[in-house]
Amino acid sequence: MKVKSSLMCQNCGRQTSHELHYVGSSLHEIRCLQCSTETWGHHHPVAGYVGEMRGRIVTKPWRVLREMTTEPAAIRSLLPRVASKPVRVASELIEILR
């Protein structure tokens, strides 16, 4: 999901329109629409997504959790096993990796 909001841009030196890109409920990226300066979410985007997935699959075995948190790339192989809404999860993941 993308949302526009006015924030102060250090580069422009004034309040400008920014685009905030959310993936799920995680903030993925913020971009100044004047100068295109990007501010990334606090964690690596894939790592952040892993954290969110962890919350969604709390009922799944610990082994799956461990694989996901230690190796972000493992998400691809895990998706069929952990996602109750595979299409939505896959589309979110594609949005991150794009």
Partner: protein, 231 residues
């Protein structure tokens, strides 16, 4: 003792681009910034009533956002074109109840500060009741330097400099008088304390929490999103 009311400023200031969302409605881990800013005052033992100031065109949207977040407030008031105007309008809205003595304390909080947890509130209210006003602040642990066209020209001590935060808490009668005097003088304060301080009323600073950030830069949104997830 009279009643204590909390006023959370969510109107913002300045014109927004088309389709741009007021930053107080941005999502922080599933809950809007304004809901996180209002929450500490709802049901707080020191606060009897909580109000939100919203931009005139966003009154309905604000009510909807707060309702969705389960935040029950006593009212949503229309803001003005600046922070000062929003504060002045809110204080004037309660003028009759302040003059009658029913409202004793008014607390002002930025709607763009979603990380305040209410821990210092009892101290702030107590100090305001005794002295006139009290605000949260944090020491400025930074090096300040003057910069000219020729480069850095001198470092400044920050020993006695603090960054003012909110909540800012005041005796209601003092606040009403301060805003009426400011209007008569054409004065626009940058925050509530500056409007009160020019009346000669002492404003005490209570050490606040450095995490009580105001969302201003994109980095603040990222940091706030991280802080709300912190245990």
């Amino acid at each position: 003792m009279g009643r204590t009311i909390a006023v959370v400023l969510g109107a913002g200031s300045g014109a927004r681009a088309r389709h741009a969302v007021n930053k107080v409605y941005l999502d922080l881990d599933g809950l809007p910034v304004i809901a996180r800013a209002v929450r500490p005052f709802i049901d707080h033992p020191e606060v009897d009533e909580t109000y939100v100031v919203a931009a005139p065109g966003e009154l309905g949207a604000c009510a909807g956002v707060l309702a969705d977040a389960g935040c029950v407030v006593h009212g949503i008031l229309p803001g003005g074109p600046s922070r000062h105007a929003s504060e002045a309008g809110a204080v004037e809205h309660f003028a009759d109840r302040i003059e009658s003595g029913e409202i004793e304390i008014v607390l002002i909080h930025d709607g763009a500060r979603p990380i305040y947890h209410g821990a210092s509130l009892a101290t702030l209210v107590d100090r305001a009741r005794k002295g006139g006003g009290a605000i949260c602040g944090v020491p400025l642990n930074e090096e300040l330097v003057s910069v000219t066209d020729h480069g850095a020209s001198g470092w400044r001590s920050t020993e006695n400099l603090w960054c003012a935060q909110t909540p800012q808490v005041f005796q209601a009668a003092v606040l009403l008088e301060a805003f009426r005097a400011a209007k008569a003088a054409g004065f626009e304060g940058t925050d509530t304390a500056s409007t009160v301080e020019r009346m000669g009323v002492p404003v005490e600073v209570v050490e606040g929490d450095p995490r009580n950030i105001k969302i201003t830069f994109p980095e603040d949104v990222v940091l706030a999103a991280s802080l709300v997830r912190a245990p």
